[in-house]
Subunit: 320 residues, 2 copies
């Protein structure tokens, strides 16, 4: 099954691929080669899709949409490359990460190269508000990355978690739909709703990701559970459980996470189930996904609006 | 002795420091702390000084000059932070490098943070040509960094060397004086001369740096010679000598560089002196520094123009 947006904007997504390829081309063949390695490795193009769907729903018919969508995807790609260096991740989208296939230096510098290509695209917009929105987002995303470093994971509070998610995940969703709305010259009230939609979508997206890693149906998602546990990540289910735990259980959970032994994953699950985290966290998810759908109501009816709703409704399928 | 520009634009340089401090401020205190650590560690502010001197020489009297100079210095700072990660350098400006005092992750992400602050400043300019010029420069600089990775050092040709220097060193000098000229609404002929000035200055600057590491007067420069040799760098003196060497001498020089043993520095010097590199490379330097001074002639007489000339004349003092 594929999400609706893949068919509704199939032509635009094809143009996007062409635009991405040409945006990233360079005299320096190694820069193009490595950038393409990640860029063409089957990303879902969710962020540029949001950008395209919103402009289309607002009946924008100008020339700048694919360029805008491309700059959003390039910003996302640059972030992924640097994230992999920082996390020392070995894999990305089922392939070796750039940092792992080449080295640290290539990861840092090709990430910078992709950023610079995004900025060149951004700089070409006539509307200064679009440029400023994208520059501000880039700043908030990088602040989120530094914030994450500055917090010792085991002391992470829910408010810190949501602050990080707002910057690391929701921010680029916001940039995608806000700049898309600005491009379509929409009213300020619509912009407010779009911002609300993207913020809630970003949080719902990350919360669902965290839920699935503990409680997902592996047949449905096609992914093994327990990856976050193995990496010792303090994700929302863990943060919620630690808040409710006595100090003995808290220490036990911290030890389990630090060890990250997949054989002990069921023990961690027991702690979460005992504290009823499964249903509590689903309420959090439902709150944000409902808010997403409600915020979309400002848009006039169209297949594009339906495709945006479809993204929200299918958040739990990992298709996003 | 100090360079003339320090007194000629002392007020502007003070404002620059204030502007840099406020530009880099952030809700995320760790981001500000680490950025300030490098930013306030006594850089010579050569690039923003070029920017300020050119605008002043062209009688610009508007408000945007310090903002422009700040964005140039922030771009430079971000590059330095990532360079230190890539080169695994332990020191920068006599202090531990960020990468070494914190770690790799902090280096990558704080570098991104400083870039994003530069982009926010850039995005605030009304003139789109300034934004585009800075974005294009950022791209050329990052291409230069990747190009350097893609070239096996021992096969480096002079043309590759000059291509890398043009992108890695001269490019930001060009961005500084071109955007400064655009800000001052100068004529296109002046812009061409400014570009020529900055290109030649960038090359002369790097060539002089390479010369001093082998042939510098340590008492005058205050630095020990042989650092490039120790790090096994194929700098211009080496590239020139290898071009003239027979295959036996070439192999010997490559071995010396790969070993990087400072006790054998005199042996390397012997090879260079024997091939008369000292005087040959000074000719190269003189060619570019003369070109610099000639390109400046387009500017009307002023203390600012004198200060620009003074920078060129004192390139061999390491004061820059």
């Amino acid at each position: 099954m594929e999400l609706l947006y893949k068919s509704v904007i199939s032509e635009e997504l094809k143009e996007l691929e062409k635009s991405l390829l040409s945006s990233i081309s360079s005299d320096i063949s190694l820069a193009t080669e490595i950038s393409n390695y990640l860029l063409l490795s089957g990303g879902k193009r969710l962020r540029p899709a949001l950008c395209i769907l919103v402009s289309k729903a607002l009946e924008y018919d100008g020339e700048d949409l694919i360029k805008l969508a491309s700059s959003i995807e390039l910003l996302h790609t640059a972030t992924l490359i640097h994230d992999d260096v920082v996390d020392e991740s070995l894999f990305r989208r089922g392939k070796e990460s750039i940092h792992s296939k080449w080295d640290n230096a290539h990861g840092v510098l090709v990430g910078d190269f992709v950023y610079s290509k995004a900025f060149q695209l951004m700089a070409s917009f006539k509307n200064p508000e679009i440029i400023r929105t994208l520059a501000d987002s880039t700043n908030r995303i990088s602040e989120g990355e530094v914030l994450q470093l500055s917090l010792k994971s085991q002391d992470l509070l829910e408010k810190d978690y949501f602050n990080i998610v707002d910057r690391k995940t929701a921010e680029l969703f916001k940039a995608a739909v806000l700049t898309s709305g600005i491009l379509a010259s929409c009213e300020s009230n619509t912009l407010l709703c779009l911002r609300e939609f993207a913020t809630s979508l970003g949080i719902a997206y990350q919360v669902q990701d965290d839920i699935l890693d503990y409680f997902g149906d592996e047949e449905l998602t096609g992914k093994k559970n327990g990856k976050d546990f193995q990496e010792g990540k303090f994700t929302l289910p863990v943060i919620m459980a630690m808040k409710l735990a006595n100090s003995k259980d808290k220490s036990a959970m911290i030890s389990l996470l630090q060890e990250g032994d997949l054989k002990k994953f069921p023990q961690m699950l027991d702690y979460l189930v005992e504290k009823n985290i499964n249903s509590q966290i689903k309420e959090t998810f439902t709150f944000y996904s409902t808010n997403c759908l409600e915020s979309l109501e400002i848009l006039p009816e169209s297949p594009y609006k339906d495709a945006l709703k479809d993204i929200v409704i299918n958040l739990d399928s990992r298709l996003t």
